[in-house]
Amino acid sequence: MTRITDGMMVRTILRDLGSLEARLRTSQERAATGKDITRPSDDPFRAGRALALRSELEGIRQQQTNVGEATSWSDTTDGAIGRLGETALRARELIVRGATDTMSPTAREAVAAELDQLIAAAKQEANTAYDGRSVFAGTATAVRPYRDADDDYHGDDGVIAREIGPGVAIGINATGRQLLGGGVAAGDDRLLHVLRDAAAHLRAGDPAALSALRTSDLSRMDNVVDGLSQARAAVGAATNRLEIAGQRLALAEETATKLLSDVEDADMARTLIDLTTQRTAYEAALRAGAQIVQPSLLDFLR
């Protein structure tokens, strides 16, 4: 038969209280932090998973920032190209009006002057900046792509891309060279080149010039207008893609957040019930301990 002695009783009570306290502390920590795992050793596999999910979540949030940034950029680009399109249409009307033989030289000069104004306006539009960066200058965002002095394009052909998903980047810029071109010197049949030619033909006023105005200038102008619409459509497509990416990222964020919560967070109802149960057990153990330790044979001897 096992002898039970006073020392053993005290040891057992202390040990039991100690283990109850340890469990109580774990539950309390869970309830206080709301986390099921506060250290890797609580559940090594889940801790590794939590780490991966946190990293994924950080990436998703960053990509959401990127998408927002890229959308603003696209909106700026889209607005500017839209206004360039309007300018081109207005210029086409002027060319059609100025191409009539009946117009006086003075009137033609006035139309040519208005074309000059439209050229200046288009160049100004092409100098549009977002957050201090020229949007149509390729990657040379610090420079204004067009100057008043000449029609040359001063930007580069660099592509500006934004990361909108893991390993997914899309280009979001259009360059001045594609839209306005480099003027007569470049000979690229873009907006500036065509408008400069048209203004020159108007000012020359001879039948050959007027004929060129009616035929080649007008058809080239049509191409320019088409080109601008296409450029705008491309920007629109990019904006669309950004929007879809944004929706996908929002969904991904929701999923990752939920997964992370499943992995990391404590089940509050269960934790609180555990906590209450353990506190009851602890109090019962304390009371029982106090009652067991007290009496001995000494109390009953004279």
């Binding site: 002898r3 039970i4 795992i37 946190r54 949030r61 990509q63 990657t139």
Partner: protein, 462 residues
């Protein structure tokens, strides 16, 4: 042979003395009810040597008459087999506790999963590049990338330094324990002294119960430190030869039981420990091991994380072929401790891309986030390290709990045999007190008899 008239008084006297000794022992037990390592003692009583009476028996043969009680011995109640079991568990517990204590620190230093761990900082580092890709011209974004890279590198350095600190701490603790002035030697000296006293008592035919308790307590403490083996010494009863931290029978004992303390019973110092001494020393030795211990392996893995990160980042940073310098630099073979942003990289010359507003480099860097090897692999390797440390801490803690439970179970059985029960002692006290009273009564009855004989005999009619 006739029987002396005073035999009865003598018998009663011996009864009184024996009961008093038993009461003394009970008092001793009660006094030591909470002394650690104390084994309850008992008085071994035996009926005294009887007197033989020649003739007068039923068949005319001899008879024997009892002469009361003798105290044969004072015994301590102890099971040496349980001591062996306890010491085996104490050794396991010492090992597991030492490991758990240090590995806990390692785990705390990780600060995972959380917002301050290296995992989160890696994430912020990649995000920094992504921000730079959004605004490659901005000085603030460049500075932010540099700051985040610096913090990440510093965190890896700090974790490595912490791990190295854990190793150094274990080494120091180990060195202190086995030093000239350390616990091991102090215990050994105490054992040698106790051996002398116990052997001297044994030579006088006495059993030194309380000294043996003390010796067992010291052996318990010693066994928590490392493997302990004891042997009796044939030529010197009572003394024990103690082998420490070594299972090799030919090894020099820590304390040589055949030699008196002042003649060099304690082995020569310094003590050279074998590869796995077991116990706390074994745990500490494994932690301090700089080539194959658990902490050494964590450091190697952390260095691999730093190395992978550095390779991936530098490859992406220089991929255009137009950059001369790397982004991260570190001393080869010691990447975790020395990883840093290359001193040549500044906020001014940090490359975001091929030109002023180009973000190709930053974009390439941002897309390394969470990519597996061979592109990156640092995030994965770090997560694997965290999982591994978590598993091993968990295993160490479980081992400690297991050893604690077993050691408690053995200790309970030991206590069940050896520790003092006040109820029992109280009962004994009543028993011995009553025995004493009864013996005294026998004596006064004998006195009455003699009174009758001496004072009243031959006085008929007076």
């Amino acid at each position: 042979m006739s029987i002396g008239s005073f035999l009865g008084i003598e018998t009663a006297r011996r009864g009184l003395v024996a009961q008093q000794r038993a009461l003394d022992t009970t008092g001793h037990n009660i006094a030591n009810v909470s002394t650690p390592g104390y084994s309850r003692q008992g008085v071994a009583l035996a009926a005294g040597r009887p007197l033989s009476i020649a003739g007068g028996g039923p068949q005319g043969g001899g008879m024997q008459i009892g002469t009361g009680v003798d105290v044969v011995n004072y015994q301590r109640v102890r099971d040496t087999f349980l001591d062996l079991q306890f010491r085996a568990q104490a050794m396991r517990l010492g090992d597991a506790s030492a490991r758990t204590r240090s590995l806990d620190q390692v785990e705390l230093a990780l600060a995972e999963p959380g917002d301050d761990g290296i995992g989160a900082q890696l994430g912020r580092f990649w995000s920094g590049w992504s921000d730079l890709a959004n605004a490659p011209e901005a000085g603030a974004a460049r500075q932010s990338v540099l700051d985040r890279a610096g913090t990440l590198a510093a965190s890896i350095n700090a974790l490595d330094a912490h791990l190295s600190g854990v190793q150094a701490g274990a080494r120091t603790e180990l060195d202190v324990l086995v030093a000239d002035t350390g616990d091991v030697r102090a215990y050994a000296t105490e054992l040698a002294g106790l051996n002398d006293s116990i052997a001297a008592a044994a030579a006088r035919g006495a059993q030194a119960n309380d000294l043996m308790d003390r010796r067992d307590t010291v052996l318990d403490k010693l066994s928590a430190l490392a493997q302990v083996r004891v042997e009796d010494v044939p030529g010197r009863p009572g003394a024990l030869t103690v082998f420490f931290a070594d299972v090799d029978p030919a090894a020099t004992p820590l304390v040589d039981g055949a030699t008196p303390a002042d003649a060099g019973a304690v082995r020569a110092w310094p003590l050279t420990l074998p590869a796995s001494p077991g116990g706390q020393l074994g745990g500490l030795a494994a932690l301090a091991d700089t080539s194959s211990g658990p902490v050494a392996q964590y450091r190697a893995e952390l260095a691999a994380v730093a190395q992978t990160l550095m390779t991936a980042v530098n490859r992406a940073y220089t991929a255009d072929g137009t950059v001369a310098g790397n982004f991260f630099s570190a001393a080869a073979g010691n990447e975790a401790a020395t990883l840093a942003v290359d001193p040549a990289v500044t906020a001014g010359n940090l490359r975001a891309g091929t030109g002023a507003g180009s973000n190709t480099t930053a974009l390439r860097m941002a897309q390394l986030r969470g990519r597996p090897a061979p592109e990156n692999g640092a995030d994965d390797a770090y997560a694997a390290l965290v999982t591994r440390i978590g598993s091993e801490v968990r295993a160490a803690r479980r081992e400690e709990v297991h050893a604690q439970v077993l050691s408690d179970a053995v200790e309970d059985r030991r206590q069940s045999t050896s520790s003092v029960s006040l109820d029992e002692e109280m009962t004994d006290m009543i028993r011995f007190q009553r025995g004493y009273q009864a013996s005294a009564r026998v004596m006064s009855t004998m006195d009455d008899l003699l009174d009758t004989l001496i004072n009243r005999t031959g006085r008929v009619g007076l």
